[in-house]
Amino acid sequence: MSAVKTKRDVLGTSSLRPDGNAKVKGDFAFTSDLHAENMLWGATLRSPHPHARIISIDTSAAIKIAGVECIITSDDVPGQLTYGLISSDQPVFAKDVVRYMGEPIAAVAADHPETCRRALAAITVEYELLPVLFNAEDAIGDAFQAIHPDGNVIRRQQIIHGDTSVEGDVIVEGHYVIGMQDQAFLGTESAMALPDPDGQGVEVFVATQWLHEDQKQMAACLNLPPEKIRLVLGGVGGAFGAREDISLQVHTALLALRTSRPVKMQYGREESFFGHVHRHPATVWMRHHATAEGKIVKIEARFVFDGGAYASTSSAVLINGVTHTQGPYKCPAAVVDGYSVRTNNPPCGAMRGFGVVQACFAHEGQMDKLAAAIGTDPVTIRLLNAMETGDTLITGQPVESVAPVARLIRETNEIPLPPALSLDANELDLPGGSGITAERKHIKRGIGWGVSIKNIMYSEGFDDYSTAKCTLSDGKVVLKFATSEVGQGFVTLAPQIARSVLGVTDAICDTIDTQIGSAGSTSASRQTWMSGGAVDGACRLVRERLFEHIGAQNNIDPIRFAIEDDEIVDTAGTFRISVIEASQGITISETFEHHHRATEDLDENGQGNCHVAFAFVAHRAVVDVDPELGLVKVVQIATAQDVGQVLNPLSVLGQIEGGIAQGLGLAVMEEIIVQEGRVRNPSFTDYLLPTALDAPVVVARMIEEYEPQAPLGAKGVGEPPCISVTPAIVAAIRDAIGKDIDRCPVRPQDICL
């Protein structure tokens, strides 16, 4: 037996991304880098109006332009004319009416992007402008006529729980406004479609979060059997929810089928702002009732989520919002009313945090108001109300997940505060940054808290299972799955699982495509749990078969075998054999589907076990504020996150730091400005993302309490980091200036005027 083992990147190590070097060097092929022989380019004509009737579309001049091969409109869609994740209400191309600025009307395929541009300019569309429904409140009730056959209210859900007659000794109330955030992934929408020679099918390389869902929706619109649409994951440059919905998939495939040539489509940055759904802007009212000591006895709340023109996932976002009203706190009674509505604003759907971000911004504002009302501090009030495993939610669902809320708050509180701002602080480090607008004496520091609970996996009876196949041959493992790698690191984690379960070193991932069962979406913090569970299950089945094989060869009951490092050992004897040797000359292949436990729908009172599991996190923000100019510098974020089990520390830290940057963006700068249905800032010049000078120091503790429900003991870690950091930063701004602020992002004028 060799004494020195080669280091194997098993679970628990900071195994590096297989595509990391290529990405850093610029060698990685994103979908937009793909190219095919004889390829055409596709482009989309979009509505300049938020609400208008289409009188006519004239493509006759455009089709005559040399190099233009094909122009398609709604009339050319061979199958279903609409698509949608939950309800099919969004047209592939607008036919009679456009309902938001940027809605697709036609697509062209031509020999060059410039030819496409000219063709689009040559298409004439005659519109009759219609009144614009831009205020979400107007969508409720009869104030405005229906702008869609499905009506203006996408979904309403109430929650009535516990003794609703109870009144608190202390009552605090607040109205909160959350702005429209963009996912702002760096790799814009892109796809390349290659038609089959017989014209009866198509292969599509696409940057997406869920290959099989795209396939299903494309099949319906293209009127082809799903298996005739073979999807392959192209290199994805970030997602954050914006790639759950169909964008250019149907258009690209249809252009390829119509021209019998490969077609590539790719949005520019401006088009991308119109090409995907955004985070729902929302207004939230909450009234907390508490005992004189500060224990919550009842919460009343009302939510209005602006879903924009089409439903997307608005109904699920609403459920996440209302069911997270209480936050990570005990609450015996609640009366909640929530709406997701349709307007002529840009469609909104999934974004990291999915409805919980909006709820959290409100409930954390409320916790600080409560602390102030009873004369205690933000930490004490949160510890006093902290949720524990076994508590019952306002939906009646018991919290079975590990729920170390009090510990998260304590551990975050133990992280040392940053040093005070020194008298000779570098000007660049003050609020205002490189604009050098302030001196040390102008700056005030504040501290704020945010704590959150987030459901993970899909809810309300949905079986979002995942499939994986493991093939072992000659000591090498190949893993096959359809799990979208959007940067979260599943291609790093999956081989780690195989190395741990099977004792191999050599483990690689096969092409990610639809040639295997669905993996569900890379969203809802679910892939480590779901696809991790599928890979783990497939590897375990292979291990059983390997043990049987070696047992038969050596006359040992396979039940006695275990994997120890890279060997199979007889736990009741002396026999041992390396996995490489044991699998020489054989091939074992197994497929496994991982399902989470079943969930239920909510009843009309919002009662039901609708969620699978929960993850928690605490954030403490320290900010420097220039109260006179209203400028902010986030100095430090301290955080303790409930992660279950750490499977890759570097990956977890990446999610924590990235999520915090995204939550910071929503706190102080990121907002799509929409005026009467028109987007005013569809560019990175005016939609501001945090830069290095805006990013805070992050001090993170990963709190490991093994989650028994999870296949690997690990909870999803993707969404929590961005949820409660936003209210923590806003609370810190309030603390610094002693003024109430009820909206995010906080604008300079909200602070100083």
Binding site: G268, T437, L629, L688, T691, D694, R747
Partner: protein, 277 residues
């Protein structure tokens, strides 16, 4: 599309005489954005980047001035000797974009674009810089106030190259500040340059009017209210800020509100007047 690459200012002005419709390209950090958005579709381009003279700078002891070539990138202005001689210009240069933008972008381009948000422009206004232009017909020197005539409009003739800018070297206080909603790489929502030249206060404001505005009343107030410009009371500085704000003419847009811009200009004026005392 043709790209013409002159190697001297003379050659550039000859090319422009032959191709009056040609578009000048220096760092490209404004122009290429316009081209990408299809806002401009130049037929021919005159690239200035290979003209070494445009990147020269020199001082003139007799007149107490510094002349900086229009093609010198911000990276060379924000630090080093130029930064010591004209600190406000260096501060303005440092706030432009990111390191990548400052490696390519130039004052010539800032002047060519002439946006009210251009970061070096308030400095040129406060220091009453002279803009030098050259065409086949000869050289021309224009005070900045006559150069910028409107939002994104200047008095450059199509056949002229902006060659350099001359600024006074003063030993007195000067500073530049810019308010943006992000701590770096942001278009200003209000910017200001305060400078004392020959014992006279000057205050220029960016992003709060169609052009860079000089706060003449505020300047006059400060000159009369403070007997010593290095000993200004808080009270006087606040009044100075109040007057400057009242002289600004900002608008509401998607970047900010007129009310905030006015307020911010006042704060900047007060702070800059007191800074370094």
């Amino acid at each position: 599309m043709s790209v013409l690459i002159p190697h001297s200012i003379l050659e550039a002005s000859e090319i422009l005489a032959q191709h009056p419709a040609a578009t000048i390209l220096n760092g490209g950090t404004d122009l290429m954005v316009e081209v990408n958005f299809n806002h401009r579709r130049p037929d021919s381009i005159v690239l200035l980047r290979n003209i070494a003279e445009l990147r020269d700078w020199s001082t003139d002891a007799a007149s107490g001035t510094i002349t900086i070539g229009a093609g010198l990138p911000y990276a060379a202005i924000e630090k080093g000797e130029i930064a010591r001689l004209v600190p406000a210009l260096a501060q303005a240069a440092r706030t432009v974009g990111s390191p990548q933008i400052r490696a390519a972008g130039t004052m010539g381009g800032n002047l060519g674009t002439c946006s009210p948000a251009g970061d070096t422009l308030p400095v040129l206004s406060a220091l009453e810089a002279i803009v030098h232009l050259q065409s086949i017909e000869g050289a021309r020197s224009v005070p900045f106030a006559d150069f910028m005539v409107g939002p994104k409009r200047n008095s450059r003739q199509p056949n002229e190259v902006i060659t350099a800018v001359t600024l006074p070297i003063t030993e007195q206080r000067q500073g530049y500040s810019k308010v943006g909603v992000r701590n770096a790489m942001v278009i200003s929502v209000a910017s200001a340059c305060f400078a004392i030249v020959n014992d006279t206060p000057r205050f220029a404001m960016g992003s709060v009017g169609p052009t860079i505005l000089r706060a003449r009343e505020a300047e006059a107030y400060l000159a009369s209210a403070a007997s010593n410009l290095n000993d200004i009371t808080e009270e006087i500085a606040h009044e100075f800020g109040r007057i400057a704000a009242s002289e600004s003419r900002p608008i509401d847009d998607h970047r900010s509100t007129a009310t905030y811009r006015k307020h911010a200009i006042g704060v900047l004026a007060t702070r800059l007047a007191l800074k370094g005392i």
